[in-house]
C-alpha cells in the first residue's frame, strides 16, 4: 500500500472537532457513566418485569404491603431535593457561591431524609417477614400469599437505588465542603448535580413500575 492509500485509510474524517458534544470531557464522561448506570437499572427493572410476568402466583396489591402515602412522601422529598440541586447548580454557574452551598446542604438534607424513610420502610417490611429469598413462613407477608420473588425484587431494586442515594450524599457532602472553601468550580457542582438528578430519574421508574403498576 503506498503512502497516499495508507493515509486515506488511516486518516480520520471525523468532523466533530475536539468536542463533538460541545461539552467538556468531564461532562461527556459523566453522561457516558449515567447511560451505563442507567442500563444497570434498566436490566434490574426488566428482570423484575420477567419475575412478575412469569409468576403463577398473583403479584400482591402494593397498598397491601406498603404504605403508598409514605412512598409518595419519599417521592416528594426526592423531587424537592432535585429542585434544590438544580438551584445549587444554577447559583454555581452564576458565581453565587453562598447560594450554591446553601442549596447543596438543603439537597443533602433531602437525600438524608429520603434514606431515613427508606431505612424505616425496610425495617417495616422486614418486620412483616420479608427476606431476600422470600417471605418468612407464618409471617404477615406469607399470609398475604406474596410470591417469594416479590421481596427479592423489592430489596434488589430499592437497595441498589438506596446505595446510589448514599453515594450521592457522599459526593454532595464533599462538593458542598469544597465549594464552601472555593476549591470546586461550577462544573464540579454541575457534575454532582447530574448524578443526583439521575438518582431522582431512576426513582421515577421504580416508583411507577414497582409501587404503582
Amino acid at each position: 500500500m503506498d503512502h497516499g492509500a495508507h493515509a486515506a485509510v488511516m486518516e480520520s474524517h471525523w468532523g466533530g472537532g475536539v468536542s463533538p458534544f460541545a461539552a467538556t470531557w468531564q461532562k461527556t464522561m459523566m453522561w457516558i457513566f449515567i447511560v451505563t448506570d442507567g442500563l444497570l437499572f434498566s436490566g434490574l427493572l426488566c428482570g423484575y418485569g420477567f419475575l412478575r410476568m412469569a409468576n403463577t402466583i398473583p403479584w400482591p396489591k402494593q397498598s397491601a404491603v406498603f404504605s403508598i402515602p409514605f412512598i409518595a412522601l419519599m417521592t416528594f422529598i426526592l423531587i424537592t431535593s432535585s429542585a434544590t440541586m438544580g438551584t445549587a447548580v444554577g447559583a454555581a454557574r452564576l458565581g453565587d457561591r453562598r447560594t450554591a452551598v446553601r442549596f447543596l446542604w438543603l439537597t443533602i438534607l433531602g437525600g438524608a431524609a429520603f434514606l431515613g424513610c427508606q431505612a424505616y420502610e425496610w425495617t417495616h417490611v422486614i418486620h412483616d417477614g420479608a427476606r431476600l429469598y422470600g417471605p418468612l413462613s407464618g409471617s404477615e407477608l406469607a399470609h398475604l400469599g406474596v410470591p417469594r420473588q416479590f421481596p427479592a425484587a423489592f430489596f434488589i431494586l430499592t437497595g441498589f437505588h438506596g446505595s446510589h442515594v448514599l453515594s450521592g450524599l457522599v459526593i454532595l457532602t464533599i462538593t458542598a465542603l469544597r465549594t464552601g472553601l472555593g476549591k470546586t468550580p461550577a462544573q464540579g457542582v454541575e457534575m454532582a448535580g447530574l448524578y443526583w438528578h439521575f438518582v431522582d430519574l431512576v426513582w421515577v421508574f421504580i416508583f411507577t413500575l414497582f409501587y404503582l403498576v
Binding site: V35, L39, A72, S82, M85, G86, L94, G193, T208
Partner: protein, 101 residues
C-alpha cells in the same frame, strides 16, 4: 430561600418541581377512577415518561445541550431498554404458559 430563587435564573427548576408534583399526585389518584387495568398501565407509563423527560430536559439541562448528546443519552437508554424488554417479555409468557400447564 433567597429572593433570587423566585427570579428568572432558578425559575425553571421550581416550575419543573411543581409540575412533577402535580403529575405524581395525578398518578397516585389514578387508581381511584376504576379505569381498565390496561388503560391505567398506559396512563402511568405515559406520565412516567413525561416525568423522566422533564427531569432529563430541565434538571439535567439536556434541553440546552447539543442535540447529539441528548440523542445519545435518550436513544442509548431507551432503545437498549426496549430491546432488552422485547427479548425478555415473550420468554416470561412462555415460562408462565409452561408452568400453568
Amino acid at each position: 430561600m433567597s429572593e433570587s430563587t423566585h427570579g428568572s435564573p432558578y425559575r425553571v427548576y421550581w416550575i419543573t418541581w411543581a409540575i412533577l408534583l402535580v403529575i405524581t399526585v395525578a398518578m397516585l389518584m389514578a387508581e381511584r377512577f376504576h379505569m381498565p387495568r390496561w388503560f391505567l398501565i398506559v396512563f402511568l407509563v405515559a406520565f412516567m415518561m413525561v416525568k423522566a423527560t422533564m427531569i432529563g430536559g430541565n434538571f439535567m439541562h439536556l434541553r440546552f445541550e447539543k442535540r447529539n448528546l441528548a440523542v445519545m443519552v435518550a436513544a442509548g437508554l431507551l432503545v437498549t431498554s426496549l430491546i432488552l424488554f422485547a427479548y425478555i417479555a415473550p420468554e416470561s409468557w412462555s415460562v408462565l404458559r409452561s408452568t400453568v400447564r
